[in-house]
Symmetry: D2
Subunit: 266 residues, 4 copies
């Protein structure tokens, strides 16, 4: 059952500026991009570079004046879904090199300070059961309040204020997981259940899986409850929101608007 | 002229615990490890994994009780040194994929907020000249005060308090560079000039170099003035200190002491 | 030359709520309230209590639904103005009891951390000359950018970001003064030069004055340059903005708008 | 049953410096100072000023070189103790002027951000019952860990890290109370049950009491459980720890040691 994606956004660059974009469905084994079509204003320079962990691509742009992007894609999600409750934790010393960076504190996820809380609240659970309990705890204790956070809000802020939007829910989930020595990363994505429709963000945690070489795999957890992993189309991954903005401008710019539509077909 | 390194450290694990270590001179083209010898207490598990950007290795350890590491190495630094003042800046849109992550905010380096200060203080300079001016500004305005910072101190804290140790000097330098859209990373290292002798940390910035494929290269800047790039032996790199601790323990542990000696031979 | 003040604001209380208000020109020796007229929606409860340092009054209100306040006043400012450059500093041990609280760190003014910066930047000056130099430093290094700060922004944030509005300019000025052991407080006020016209905030510092019993007096410093002390009408004072909001609601409320007009007459 | 207090401390001033001290049992109706004896090194200047809310005195000192204070007192605590569970909350609009400042955010108590948490966790309780529940919540969820906090630690930090010392327990209690619109202040004190014996800190909240003019009174709450209100001797009060340090130095100083002994007599 393919997912139909349409996203448009417009911004205006006051003089020649560089822009870094990441908004396209990633071409990776767990999701097949059946078709895609991207119309962008002509630019002085445009280059694609691989994005973090080779999941998706970033686009470097140099342009000026008004700029518009219209993106359409059809994506088949083929992700194998596990019963996360039944998965074990990989002992830290068994973690592969590429997962290790996702144990560390990052800009919005100061996990180290949360160890006593995590031990007290979730210490009786382990592995996937602990991850599910964390997701449910965030879900129950936080209010989804558009406008309650901004680009400087960290998981520490959100933990105190008990509210936020998808990026904040993902940051708190990631922070709690890392405070348990479970690698966790931030995933920007498209998902049909997101209301109002917009770019979305979820957390991913790395848990044991004996059937996989290396012994572990990433699993999506969305504490907002809006995205179904079976229908979530990944754009990119990072340590946290600092790494996977859909648009970063280097120079004076004004964002003028965006529309996002994500639908299941059939 | 080789550099002679000797480092020993001891810690005690209260029950079976995992430990992540990164303390060895990296085997990379810019420095040749002439000899090395590492004696470690026997452990239940010991595995090497590649470290960030494939610079050096991390060691996963599982052990309990007292643990001791004695490391000796002789390293020839072959780094090509540039006149940084004469190097240009790579426009963001020309940056290769692997440098892009070093533009973003990280745990200890919230660069985004520093843009107005950087523009006001360094806006009249560009490229390598700006980087040198930043290094000199940190050097002149900060006091090296052992004990004045801790594991939670960010570049924002240090910028206000105008003091710190090598990690803080590196964090501020990295933050100012990123606020100029110049990729900057944190390098843990050994260097003979460090007083008192200890593990050291410096910043590295990515600047244009026409003679190199991809058009850019990393250059060491040490605002403490203690490490000479011609004699600096890299251990590893990361976004900031969160990524390249020489020892991270997962479980109750007590650090018992270390000695570091770094000398030029002949 | 009297100052003519007109201020109106409207808010809406979703259910019976308590509101704390402080918006009237204070009746204090340094300014004579020639006339005033305040029309407020009828309320279930309304009580006046003395405000901080007995400067002005706070109004406790209990009401529900829409609420409107229309305030008009004519005030003659009689403040004696000193040449601040010529005033000395009171040694801390000579400070009277009521000034001491204004030496301490407060919510938005973490002054203690700024001592090394203050010593390095202003250490060659003392007393009033140092205060004027601090005011000028803030004035030169900060940009007045409406919308760049919010209710959580501290002087530490503003010092990094080098921008803000009147409250932020006052917070930084207060912080630098306290880091010199000079008592400094936050003054909410009306002033004719404020553009666009709105409630305003300035800093006040306590300096030596031999002609006054107790040996010291408060002097206004406005780093935004918009308020002339000879025409500034005080509403109230506090440690920082946490203490002198013109409106604090205890319960769900929606602010609906305000207009402020302050004019010199004749 | 009087309380016997002995406190000594020594510090060394590198050049003539000002020092602000507050370490004596306050002479206030709720506790009678039966006897006191204070021996202090001779100083160039020594003056007593009333402390915050006229509770106790501060001492301004100017001296240089080594300085020693030996303080002994016997104090009878006569405080009327209420069953806090049975006390109601004063509606904000009924609060007297002097209690209002204790509703506001202060340096270490950013209460405003905690409103959603407080509403979720304690919303089913009111008045004294809510205060007792808050005290018990802090008591159950925090670990008393000497050395885990420092002079920059706020209630927000402690809330995340779930540990601290008496000042941190008091800060969190104060923060939660204020987030419920209950005035709360910080009390430095002596109490016999404190282990190891040292200066102590507790919170005080302002609750309704029909038998008292003004309709309200302050009540001690100690989330550490170490101080019995019937045996707690107040030194001074403030918004938080920023206001009631036992010693604040203005100039280079080195603290050399202290001993505190507090005993019930008979």
């Amino acid at each position: 059952m393919p997912i139909d994606i349409a996203a448009s956004f417009t911004f205006s660059l006051n003089g020649p500026s560089d822009v870094l974009l990441q908004f396209e469905a990633a071409a990776i084994p767990e999701q097949e991009v059946l078709s895609c079509d991207c119309t962008m204003t002509e630019a002085a320079h445009l280059a694609r570079i691989p994005a973090q962990d080779n999941i998706g691509e970033r686009i470097w742009l140099r342009s000026e004046g008004q700029y518009q992007i219209d993106y359409k894609a059809q994506v088949e999600v083929k992700r194998l879904l596990a019963e996360i409750e039944n998965l074990g934790r990989l002992e830290p010393h068994d973690l592969p090199g590429e997962a290790v960076q996702y144990l560390f504190d990052s800009r919005y996820c100061p996990a180290d300070r949360f160890q006593p809380f995590v031990e007290a609240e979730f210490g009786h659970l382990s592995g996937g059961k602990r991850m599910i309990a964390m997701r449910d705890w965030v879900s129950e204790n936080f209010a989804y309040v558009p406008g309650s956070s901004d680009a400087t809000t960290t998981a520490a802020d959100s933990f105190i204020e008990r509210r936020g939007i998808c990026r904040d829910y993902a940051h708190v989930m990631i922070t709690l997981a890392r405070a348990s020595a479970v690698p966790a990363r931030f995933v920007s994505c498209y998902a049909p259940g997101v209301t109002p429709q917009d770019f979305h963000a979820v957390a991913e945690v790395f848990l044991a899986d004996e059937t996989i070489p290396g012994g572990g795999a990433w699993h999506i957890l969305d504490a907002t409850g809006m995205a179904d992993p079976a229908e979530t189309v990944k754009i990119g991954v990072g340590r946290d929101a600092a790494d996977v903005s859909f648009m970063t401008t280097f120079g004076p710019a004004m964002f003028e608007g965006k529309t996002v539509s994500v639908q299941k077909i059939g």
